[in-house]
Symmetry: C2
Subunit: 108 residues, 2 copies
DNA sequence: ACTATACTTAACCTTTTGGTAAAGTGTCAA
DNA sequence: TTGACACTTTACCAAAAGGTTAAGTATAGT
């Protein structure tokens, strides 16, 4: 599922850092790569992970590929986590309604 | 980092489904395993992933191990995602303050 | 004591991930 | 036109992930 890949993309600190950087505005791939102690192809692979779940869009003009953030998939991730908010907020008076939101499906 | 493991734990639909189940109350391992088309050791491995990042606590009494939800790590994940909320809500009037929240550190 | 239950552990297998190095391609600029 | 730059592609590697089966251990019930 898409949600799988979004959460997976977020499970690496380099990729989260990349999101932090592209959130500030378009960045070139090589510019981005300077921030990390790894080869450029490695950074490109991380961008591939972020791109395949839609978190980062790229646009190549000339020889420069610019990367920008698309936060829409983060909303999907947030919506999923949101269901559990009552548990860490301790609003057990609202627990019932939240439990009803949780699916009762047999298997995934 | 812990956040790595939390997001990683959430990147699998079986594990997310397990969270949905334990949220409803304590469940035994074998009871849980009945829901999935995989062997019991496979389910135990998923529980290991969920346990190692703190999302699921277990308590063995007799020969039965009961699993319960601990949503605290979800709050950490939510806090991270929350920083980006402005991007999918399109509140670009507030963009500036959110950008300041994003860390400016050189490398992770 | 015997047996079924509920895990637990171990060994193994395949695929995916995250990285590398090195060579190739396309574009800009002097 | 020549060279530097910005990727891009390819081939490779080690480790981790997700699953399997099979055997082992501890407890509960008869």
């Amino acid at each position: 599922m898409t949600l799988d890949r979004v959460f997976y993309a977020l499970s690496d600190s380099t990729r989260r850092d990349i999101l932090g950087r592209v959130a500030r505005g378009p960045v070139a791939v090589s510019e981005l790569a300077k921030r990390y102690q790894m080869s450029l192809p490695a950074v490109v692979k991380h961008l591939g992970v972020l791109g395949s779940c839609g978190l980062v869009k790229t646009d190549k003009v000339g020889r420069v590929r610019s990367c920008t953030l698309d936060a829409a998939p983060l909303k999907a991730a947030d919506d999923w986590i949101e269901t559990y908010r009552v548990f860490w907020e301790g609003r057990f008076d609202r627990l019932g309604e939240y439990l009803n939101e949780l699916s009762e499906d047999p298997a995934p």
